[in-house]
Symmetry: D3
Subunit: 284 residues, 6 copies
């Protein structure tokens, strides 16, 4: 669970960006004592994510706005469902509207897209994971949205797991040390809680990497046939991640190759915002 202080920091930054010295339109057009009631309505079906973030947008604008959530993060909803009810001073409701919507649409969009990938791979044993291709500054909440959609998270950052790519392997073996041995001595320098994943581009790289005792091998841009061969060769001695060229059309076939993990950058970098609207009724 994200801490309140972390959520508030992200939302406050967005508010100060969007209304640095107030909302000219509300102040000029809406009386100070007008009140508003607003329904957060789903214009399309989906999976909800971002309730706490949505509520914070209003609370940080004006603590007198009340937000009641009707659904919890991760819940499936239908078009037309009312997901939350917002009530309070009309100026504040209108000022915070776009920021609140922006976050909940983005997060629910990610959760919904994730849930579709997850549904595709049902019963295959493969899990759908995100990548580091998140929006700068929003990783924390985009990652939560992936979880709300039934997906799993990959490593959060450069600081919490190792992902060795071709550049790293090239360096590691530059002085002539065999890759297995070089990897082993690198692993010995890492925290014992650090997961080590190595990316390979060809089947013939697997054995040396596997021999080093890595935790996960990523098969990058492999054909379905090669994925199948890779899974067989690794034979449960490491987790197998498939990466590259994953779409809703291809993900089932990839999952059926027997890989454990399928990483999908699109979950965060290409999820369309979900169409949620705020139906506002103002009482003057």
């Amino acid at each position: 669970m994200l801490t309140r202080t972390a959520i508030d920091r992200v939302v406050a930054a967005a508010l100060e960006e969007d209304a640095p010295w107030g909302d000219l339109t509300s102040e000029a057009l809406v009386p100070a004592d007008a009140t508003a009631q607003a329904d957060l309505v789903a214009r399309e079906p989906g999976v909800f994510s971002g309730g706490a973030v949505f509520a914070a947008a209003f609370a940080l604008t004006d603590p007198f706005v009340d937000v009641r959530l009707s659904v919890t993060d991760g819940a499936v909803f239908a078009a037309g469902d009312v997901l939350a009810v917002v009530s309070g001073p009309a100026r504040a409701v209108l000022t915070a509207e776009r920021i609140g919507l922006n976050f909940v649409q983005r997060m629910s969009g990610i959760a919904t897209l994730t849930s579709r990938y997850v549904a595709e791979v049902e019963h295959t044993g493969a899990r759908i994971v995100d990548t580091r291709k998140t929006t700068p500054g929003l990783r924390m909440i985009e990652r939560q949205a992936v979880r709300d959609g039934g997906g799993h998270n990959h490593r959060y950052s450069l600081s919490d797991a190792v992902m060795a790519k071709d550049n790293h392997l090239a360096v590691l073996t530059a002085s002539g040390v065999p890759v297995t041995q070089a990897l082993q001595s690198a692993i010995a320098r890492l925290p014992h809680t650090t997961h080590v994943e190595v990316e390979v581009d060809r089947l013939d790289q697997i054995d040396a990497v596997l021999a080093a005792g890595v935790d996960t091998i990523m098969l990058d841009n492999f054909s379905l046939a090669d994925l199948r061969t890779g899974v067989e060769r690794i034979a449960g001695r490491a987790q197998v991640e498939a990466s590259g060229g994953v779409t809703l059309e291809t993900v089932r076939a990839i999952a059926e190759t027997g890989v454990d993990v399928i990483s999908v950058g699109a979950l965060t970098h290409s999820a369309p915002a979900l169409d949620l609207g705020l139906d506002v009724r103002i009482t003057v």
Copy 2:
């Protein structure tokens, strides 16, 4: 021009998110004294944006990394072009790589998509503008990318221009005051430098709004025929903005209706990151 302090703030936040306590992989696999030279290479053609932001990612990781830009923001490039050369300590180059790429890919993606919209409306007199549907925290740099692509910016935030929508108009006229008069008294409360734009959904709303002396009228989700009628009715007495349902396929026809401004949320919320890569050569 964005100030250095503003750019650094955005980039530092991204770096602290992506490498909060360092880059485990680089530290474990790359010797401290290894050096790297890296070319920022275009894998597809496009319009460049984000040079200063790209450079800041490396400078804030390690001031000993040197970044030389070969193209300026707004320049058109071809697939294969080298856009920048990065050199310095290998660990720092690898640590900052993703953040640097992330920003420049996103910004160049926006600039490139914008340039396509701009090309479509060439010689029509219509301009392509962005919307407030930007990424929370990144509006400043996404807006620059739109400009680098030849587009124009809409209002930056709730604080710098008025955009009156149906909710606002409903409130304004709730007490029975006619809309023209209500708008005029609202305008009288605004800074004299504040641009006033009003969104209308139907042709029959135009006259009352126009009579109030607004600066721009937004015709929201109008058919091409209605756009044409709207432009004729407004007859240069206000700028005309078309909004809603704008795609690369429809934008030319919309522009040819004679509108002045076409706002395209997709410029920032749906621009695919451009495929730029960093080809790294490490010397141990």
Copy 3:
């Protein structure tokens, strides 16, 4: 309306500056369980501004302090009026007293001075506006005080409207392009919501600037006679702003020349703090 998060940020910074590691005097001289009741009393008549900021000073020191405002921002009050009542732990009330007063005195001072300028120009059609000569870090709340005093705001910052001065015009025409044409091509690069104002020093500059279609022309340091001539020449084709040498003594005559806008740097840079006092009664 300013967001709560923006107000809190400004007030918290002031509190941390004035009591970085607490209030030595209160802690040494006042028992921890003493309570205080304090009246915010007007020592002179004026226009109130800064209620929310005043309240935040106490809330951010100790959430157990209660602040009840008796007047709203923009209200006129007489000497002797009680404007707010503060009650709660005595140490916190004394710690926050100066910061709370400082803000509300400054803001009410600006609102009161503004209201005097506004009264002077009554029925002339001219509006009184502030300038960018605000206190670094406090522009947002000083601008609100101007509005509370019945004044209007000028552009907020370099980012939200254009103000072209002699330096800019000199650059613009350096290559021999006529000023009208040069301005027009600059305007074409700006957001359509950007107000363009140009400052001129002489009557003979007006025609070229006007021909470019600018929104406002600022007549800088013009004599009354020249202001009158300027207004006639512009003839409603742009707004006219008078600037320079504006005092309470001169402002009426300036307004009567027919200008639309009179900018007064003194509103924010020279408004004396209003004499408001906090009458504190402590119960031990």
Copy 4:
């Protein structure tokens, strides 16, 4: 000496307030490759303060701007003197101009006003000190300006010295303990480095306060005659501070009563900004 990190924090906040998403005017009207040279020129004589802050305004906008200071903080200058030379990219020079000027005008205004008070009391043995009535957020630099003008600083904040006023004394003696004894037990709770100052309103309060062993007694709003009597009665056993009603006209007479310290709120809250200008020459 203020640390670079403290100066940069204050200046960066001002820049982000004044150019949150850039300088529209410079960007639209000035070519990216234009360069500027600018002289900081004194339009009136004064005492310089704020050189490092002035330079930071340009450096934080664009590190390629070069600022050479011709005078040091505290130096006296004549009208017409060139105080600094700025050179670099024209857009950046114009963007940072107002912020740089704003700080240096404010600080030099304070230093200059301070120097006039200091000159008035020459050879009297009294020192001129500031108060806590500084601008929220700018205390650090306003205090430096007072020092640059030859004045001295009072306590910086509530955290670094005690100032007991009537409210505090009333609390202290509420339970019937005599003021001397009550003060002594309060002093015993304070850090040994904490200066204790007590404000008195009448001569008959002095003895009890003095007996407690305080460091400074502030005679608040005393007549000249009473000041003289107060000084005699205290007789060097504590420092004597005069406060209230101090102007350039009265300060000499106050100093001649023999007080040690004269606090002048006007130094910071009423110093007019000094008239310094930036003469910019742009080369396109």
Copy 5:
């Protein structure tokens, strides 16, 4: 009293360090609707400090957690005492547990160690004070803990009192000016509220320093005999601080030499965290 905003800033930073993107363990192992009740129990006797900081750790994680303190800061408690009761959502209680404990253990450890030093010097007239050897970023709360333990604070920072050491004295007299005169002219430049303390290493330095009228003389690393001689020589004309080699074993003898102040770096840099535990009962 520390302001709420200052406490929250310190605690929020700690929370974001320890749970930057949530608590994986709680989220995976504890149901979202589980509740917890937790007693803060003393595993050893001591002096309590940090109640507000402890409570903030939970409030900033989740405002629905309720914290009731059973003891006030500065209270003595026995092993087994329940010092506070925490109740609310189980995930939040577990997430904030370590941060809350960390602060309260550290602060109570400092208060407890301080109280032991204070007890040792009872009835001697010497006070126990801390030093600047605090933890970077935590000085404010570590200082409060010293006060809660019955100790006193030394100067807070470089900004609020003078401490002249050998380096400074060497500079001061480099040009041949006698130390007394040099110190006097330095003092004349300081705020009148600034306490001046000078550190001496040998008895023969005392006279010159004393003649300058300093407030405190620190006798650094003096033998008991020399301390006694120093106290006699200073004879009440300045406060005397003993520093260096102070332990619980030596402090009484040092106090009995007649010094006024004994500074003990160990209070903050070597106080062991007190053994306080959180006994958590979770209801699923």
Copy 6:
């Protein structure tokens, strides 16, 4: 490697805490144009850590101070060795001295203590790791110090690895689900890169935990005999961490039981600051 922006943030906070409005002593006693040269000298032998942090303390005070490091992080040095040379304006050198020393003494203290633990377990196959018992706000640099001393890091925070303790297990099995099955379903919810460690208090807990497929089992406060039995029972199917009661005296015996990891809270919470001094020579 830590990013420059992360190091600067930590050091700037410390500087603003220790010299919020400058260094009164340096400013009063040291001429503005005095220069200093200072050697960072080891007063005792140890392992160096914190070079970049030490340098940043001076750079953020005044960029004109030059710091040359003679040793790299992780290097062993002898008493008397000069570890760095600092030169530049004397005021700045004296202002930053304590902060610079504070960090480098703390970090080198941790590195040195770590190196002693590491030496004790040489050739045993056990690694020494730190814990989350770090100083709030300084975890990042304390962790680097552990690495510089030859130790390894444990999980950084609650966000990057799972550590299930008795509370968690009690919750997990509250509804009657066997612990193995409950753990497995929790693991299934975690990122595939998340290391799962479970703490057990008794030998008979091991089998159920092991059967769940966890990565590490922590044997908490086990006797040497029980550690040996635990290692045998686990038999390489999970890593084994010993925790509790680890001292320099006991660590070798613990290591010889065959455990893989020994966590030592003392590395960060009880490492004495190393005695490093700054020998300053000032030239007036």
